[in-house]
Symmetry: C2
Subunit: 364 residues, 2 copies
C-alpha cells in the first residue's frame, strides 16, 4: 500500500502517454480530473494486486467514445459514481477497489480521479500493459473473463447495465448507446474478483508509469539523457532517430489511421522510417527492415525533452527518437497475437519480438 | 382470479385489435405466441388488480421497435424471461405478476404468452385503455411513475437495464439500443407496486377485450348485429358508415401516417369521412363536423363481420363502420390532453369528448 499525491499523478500521466504508444487519448483531461479530485478529497491509496483479497470485487473505470467529445463535456465524476453504485446493486457486493483497464492516455488517469473522489483504493494492475482501441483487447479476454455485466453512465445521470452473450455485442450495444448519450460515457467493464485480477492482470503498471515520468522529469535536473533513462526503465530499444518529413492521416470508421515518415539523422542517415498508426503506433519499418510491430510497443519521443508524442501530436519537422518496448508475454501467445497482432490490424507481416528484430542482420 | 385458455386468447386478440384503434401492431403474432405457450405450459391465471398485494412487484412485458421486424425474428420467449430475471436481480424482489402496458395489438398478447410460459399471473389492468405510440403515453406517466428501471432483451440473449433521469431519455437510449439489437426488443418498463397499479392502471381491460371479441364471434351464430353488440360493450357510438374511396399513406420518422377517405352510405350518403391516422386512428371528421378525436378511441370495423381493421389493413372499396368510444377519464385531464390530445399529434383542434360531438347540432 502506498499513498500518492499530485506529483505522482503528474509523473504517471507522462508514463501513461508513453505506454499509450501514441493513442489512448491524451491523458491531459484525465490528469486534470485526478489533480482536482486530490485537491478536493485528498490523496489516493494505491494497492499492489497481492494486497487484494481473492474474493473482493474489483471494477475498472474508463471512458468509452471520442476523447474529443470528452473535452467539450468534461465528466463531472458523478457518472462514474452512479455506474459503480449500479454495478454494486446488480452484483449485491461492494466494490473493493478500482483499477485502470489500460495503460495509456485518459483511461489510466480516470481510476485515480475516482479513487480520490470515493476514497476507493486503486489497484496497480491493468489489462493491456499499453493502450489498444477495442474492448476485447485485454488480457482478461485472453483469459476468458467476460466484459459484462458492464455499466455505462453519462454526465446527465442516465445509467445502463449491460449483459451480453459475448464481448462483440458488448462493443456494439455500448457503442450505439454511447453515441445516443452524447458521444462519450463513463463505463465499467470487466469487473472481476481479486483472484481474476491477480491471475490475468498486468502488475505494477502505475508504478512503471510513474517511474517513466519521474525519470524524464529528473533527467533534465540531473543533466542525464532522458531517453537513455526511459530505455532502462522499460527494457526498451532505440529503433531510430530522425526528423518527421511527411505525415499522412485520415480518419476512417472512428480511427485516426495514417503513416508518418521520419528521415534518419546521425547513424540513421540515408534511411527513412515509416511509422504506421491506427490510434496507436503499430508498425515501424525502414525500406530494409521491420523494426517493431504490435503488440510490442512503439513510442515516439521528443529528441530533446524525451516526452512522448501522440499520433495526433506528430508534426512536420519534429526531431524525435522512436523506441520499441517488449509487450507483456500474454500478448505473445497464439491467442494474443490473433487478438492484437499485425494481421488483426491489416498488416501483412508475421509478428516477431522486437528484441529479435533489433539484432543486426534481421532484414526484409 | 380466473383461468383462461385458447378460446379466451382468441377473443382477447380481437378485442385488442379493436381497442388498438388501428395501431399497436397486429396482435396476430402475439396471439400465436400466447396460444403456443398455453399448448406447451398450460392455461393462464388472470388476476383482478384488487387481488394484488399493495407491496407486490408487478412488471409489464411488451415489445419495442418495429412489429414488422418481429415477424421476421419472432421472439422465442427466452428474452422476456431474461429481462424479468434481470429486473428481479436489480430490485432484489420476485415479480409477482405481469400485465399489459397497453390495450391493443401485439403488446396486449405478450404478457399472456409470458404468463403461460412462466406460470406467472397476469393482472387485468393496463396503462392506456387503448394503444398509443410513445412510451410516456401511459396513465403511469400522468401519475408520476418512472419508466425505469427498464429492461430490454433481444432474442440472442443480450439484456440491458436502464435507469434514466426522465422518460424522454428512456425512449432515446432504449430506441438506439433496440435498433442496434436488431430492430426490436422485448422490454419491461414501468415496473411498479401493486398499489401503484391499483391507483394508476386502467382496470378490467382484458375482460373488456375478451367480451368484445366474444360478442363479435357469437353475433354471427346468434344472428344478431355484431356492431350493435360491440357498441353496447364499450358504450360507444356509431360515427359513420361507408366505403373506402381513397387512402393516402406515408411512413415518416417511423410512423405510418395517412388519411383515409370514406364515402358515406345509407343515412351518411353525400358525406365523406376523413380519417387521420399516425399508427393509430386519431381524428375523424366530415366537411361539416368533427366526429371523434384522440384520446377518445376511433375504431374501423368491417361492415359485414364487425371485425376491426388496422390502419395498414384499410383497403380501397372496403365497406366499414367507424365507431367512437369514450377514453378513460384519466386522459381527459389537463395533463392527459397535453400528453395525447389532438395538438400533441399536430392537429389544430381542441379536444371535445366524443359523446358531445355526436350530439346533433355540434358542427364546424
Amino acid at each position: 500500500m502506498r499513498i500518492i499525491g499530485k506529483q505522482e499523478v503528474e509523473d504517471i500521466a507522462i508514463g501513461a502517454a508513453l505506454l499509450g504508444t501514441g493513442g489512448g487519448g491524451d491523458p491531459y483531461i484525465g490528469k486534470l480530473m485526478a489533480l482536482q479530485a486530490i485537491e478536493e478529497y485528498g490523496e489516493i491509496t494505491l494497492l499492489d494486486v497481492d494486497e487484494i483479497p481473492d474474493d473482493a470485487l474489483v471494477a475498472p473505470s474508463s471512458m468509452m467514445g471520442a476523447p474529443t467529445v470528452m473535452l467539450e463535456k468534461a465528466p463531472n465524476g458523478e457518472e462514474t459514481v452512479a455506474a459503480f453504485r449500479q454495478l454494486e446493486a446488480h452484483l449485491g457486493k461492494k466494490i473493493y477497489a478500482t483499477f485502470p483497464i489500460e495503460a495509456g492516455g485518459v483511461n489510466s488517469m480516470l481510476p485515480l480521479a475516482l479513487g480520490a473522489r470515493l476514497g476507493l483504493p486503486v489497484v496497480d494492475a491493468d489489462g493491456m500493459g499499453r493502450a489498444f482501441p477495442e474492448l476485447q483487447m485485454v488480457t482478461f479476454y485472453l483469459d476468458g473473463i467476460s466484459a459484462t455485466p458492464a455499466v455505462l453512465a453519462d454526465e446527465k445521470g442516465n445509467t445502463m447495465l449491460l449483459s451480453t452473450i459475448d464481448n462483440v455485442w458488448t462493443e456494439r450495444i455500448a457503442r450505439a448507446a454511447t453515441i445516443e448519450m452524447g458521444g462519450s460515457t463513463m463505463t465499467s467493464m470487466y469487473s472481476m474478483t481479486g483472484k481474476n485480477l491477480k491471475d490475468s492482470g498486468i502488475k505494477g503498471i502505475l508504478k512503471l508509469e510513474e517511474e517513466i515520468g519521474k525519470s524524464i522529469r529528473l533527467a533534465k535536473l540531473n543533466n542525464v539523457n532522458s531517453i537513455d533513462e526511459v530505455l532502462k526503465k522499460v527494457d526498451g530499444f532505440e529503433l531510430f532517430r530522425g526528423k518527421v518529413s511527411d505525415i499522412n492521416r485520415k480518419t476512417e470508421t472512428g480511427f485516426a489511421r495514417g503513416i508518418a515518415s521520419i528521415e534518419g539523422l546521425n547513424e540513421y542517415k540515408e534511411q527513412t522510417l515509416q511509422l504506421r498508426f491506427q490510434n496507436e503506433h503499430l508498425l515501424a519499418e525502414t525500406e530494409q527492415r521491420l523494426l517493431c510491430v504490435t503488440p510490442d510497443l512503439i513510442a515516439v519521443l521528443d529528441a530533446e525533452t524525451g516526452l512522448p508524442i501522440t499520433t495526433e501530436g506528430i508534426r512536420y519537422g519534429a526531431r524525435c527518437v522512436v523506441i520499441g518496448i517488449p509487450c507483456h508475454p500474454k500478448w505473445r501467445t497464439e491467442k494474443g497475437i490473433e487478438t492484437v497482432g499485425p494481421r488483426y490490424f491489416g498488416y501483412d507481416v508475421d509478428y516477431t519480438p522486437v528484441e529479435e528484430l533489433v539484432k543486426k542482420g534481421v532484414a526484409y
